[in-house]
Amino acid sequence: MAETLLSVRNLTVAFQTRRGAFDAVRDVSFDVEAGRVLGVVGESGSGKSVTAMALMQLLPEAARVSSGQIHLAGRDLGSLSDRQMRSVRGREIAMVFQDPMSSLNPIFSIGRQLMEPLTLQLGLSRAAARARAEELLGLVRIPSPPQIMRAYPHELSGGMRQRVMIAIALSCGPKLLIADEPTTALDVTTQAQILTLLRDLQHRMHMAVLLITHDLGVVAEFADDVQVMYAGRIVERSPVGALFDRPAHPYTEGLLRCMPPLEDEDPERLPAIEGNVASPFAMPAGCSFHPRCPYAWEACGRIQPQAVTLGAGHDAACLRHGVVPA
């Protein structure tokens, strides 16, 4: 049993917007073990990014953690001061985002943006930071680092920019890397390269990774464990193999059915899950998925299903697997 690095318990994130209040993340609990890759999948709007930003304690102004705890290596992040949390960011948890173009400041050189955390967080001198920055660019397999140090973001391709973002994220040797759809904005070949790079670096640095994605194929290849989110809740969690062999939640089943087979020539004809994601303002009572669920019965509209353990590290929140006694 690996040691638990990150432990999230009953996390609920509430938004207060002009259109009304809603919970984007609802009663979410999970652990990330040191050195492992946890994939998070779910449709758009299911709360993946909000969960990630809650871990960073960088929620948008409209949002706040309304209940729950986040422990990183035993420390309760919610109880840290602003200054303490700043030294956690970058050094203990780092993050890579979806769009590598807008993630970098357009008017500063790559070198400057890469050296920033090295001088500010690690207190390196400019010369030491420069040397380390060039090393990091080499680590993410960017050719001729000194030249790239002088380049500006718009002069690089999407894949190169994402490598730079990864180098920035790794610069202070974090224990946990959150990658929020790191390849969604890239073409297929580049996607594979970036994911291979991430996997490789994760091994070498013995880092835990929270890999957020829409793509179950990515999860199958790169994650150790996976959790499926729907409408702000985790509906199923499992080691990767078991999820693909024995999906236990009807939503997971649906996602798997929508996955293109590897050699598919006609991706146009992919089946999709019927219906739309539940609106956060009008959450169905009981199980949020029941209006779209082919197995739904009367009780699904009344009872909020709790996670039921089905095997080693595999549980699902669906009434088909029984009701947890209160």
């Binding site: 960088l58 700043r86 780092a94 400041n105 008017i107 500063f108 500010l120």
Partner: protein, 305 residues
């Protein structure tokens, strides 16, 4: 970069040619300087002499060509109301105008940008509401009215500052404030919008995720990106600044090119009017070039061919 600057400078004569043509036409359309300049007791000899000196006996196109020829030598002719060349008269007043415009612009930039940042940081709070309303009110306040109020209060009531004239720093305060008031509200509103927009950029989240504080992200990532929108606006407003300078110089009897220009129009001192308009046109053109070059230095994405 150097090539770009040279190419821009090469276009300057074209700009000035258009300015020359426009001034020439407007001045010839608005009456004969001889009638206005010579008094009722003029002799026919005086009329002939002045007509010849100003080449008014030639056909219009020829007049224009003569005008252009002299222009190439920096020669606008002799001033009619002052002794000496028109160019020299204007040159002597240029320092005062640059001093006023520089002080007014600096004041407007510093206060306007600071106000805009404060509005963006405390967006939708009392600070924002207060500063934004003052800015909007300031936008609709005519300068001459503000000038009168300032003179009444600070000069006539409190006797802190002189009512008008030129001399030490105390003379500069009221004119500079009056001029600054023209541009400041817009700088505030532009800065506010730019900073608020930049605050939702993804690179701001990146900065925070590196462990930077909110203040540091504002100072080192957001504000540098906000400079160019403000500069773009400044480029457009250099004309407004110069126009404001003319009004302000007139209110405060500030001995600059603006007041000279108004005065010379009244006296139909054609050479001085032309030289003044030219001086102002050159200031505007060069300022715009400086603004463009600064923007290129700040943002590597701008490439001007």
């Amino acid at each position: 970069m150097a090539g770009y600057i040279l190419r821009r400078l090469a276009f300057l004569p074209l700009t000035l040619l258009i300015v020359a043509l426009a001034t020439f036409i407007v001045l010839r359309l608005t009456g004969n300087p001889v009638d206005i300049f010579l008094d009722i007791n003029r002799t026919p000899e005086q009329v002939t002499a002045l007509t010849q000196r100003l080449h008014l006996d030639q056909p219009l196109p020829v007049q224009f060509l003569i005008f252009l020829r002299d222009l190439l030598h920096g020669d606008f002719g002799e001033s009619l109301q002052f002794s000496g060349s028109a160019a020299g008269v204007v040159w002597d007043r240029l320092g005062a105008t640059l001093q006023l415009a520089g002080a007014g612009l600096a004041l407007a930039l510093i206060l306007g940008i600071a106000g805009g940042i404060a509005c963006a940081v405390w967006r939708d709070r009392a600070v924002d509401a207060a500063i934004s309303s003052i800015a909007v009110a300031g936008q609709s306040m005519p300068s001459f009215w503000l000038g009168i109020l300032l003179i009444e209060f600070f000069a006539l009531q409190l006797h802190w500052l002189p009512t008008s004239g030129y001399g030490d720093l105390r003379h500069l305060v009221l004119p500079a404030v009056t001029l600054a008031a023209i541009l400041m509200p817009n700088f505030t509103l532009i800065t506010r919008t730019a900073v608020i927009e930049l605050m939702s950029e993804q690179f701001v989240v990146t900065g925070r995720s590196k462990g930077l504080s909110r203040a540091r992200v504002l100072a080192t990532h957001i504000l540098p990106n906000a400079v160019n929108p403000v500069l773009s606006f400044l480029g457009i407003q250099i004309g407004t600044l110069m126009a404001g300078s003319i009004v302000t110089e007139t209110i405060y009897a500030w001995p600059g090119v603006g007041r000279l220009l108004i005065n010379s129009i009244g006296h139909r001192d054609v050479p001085v009017v032309e030289a003044s308009v030219f001086a102002i046109a050159i200031i505007i053109a060069l300022s715009n070039l400086v603004v463009d070059v600064l923007q290129m230095l700040i943002d590597p994405r701008i490439h001007r061919g």
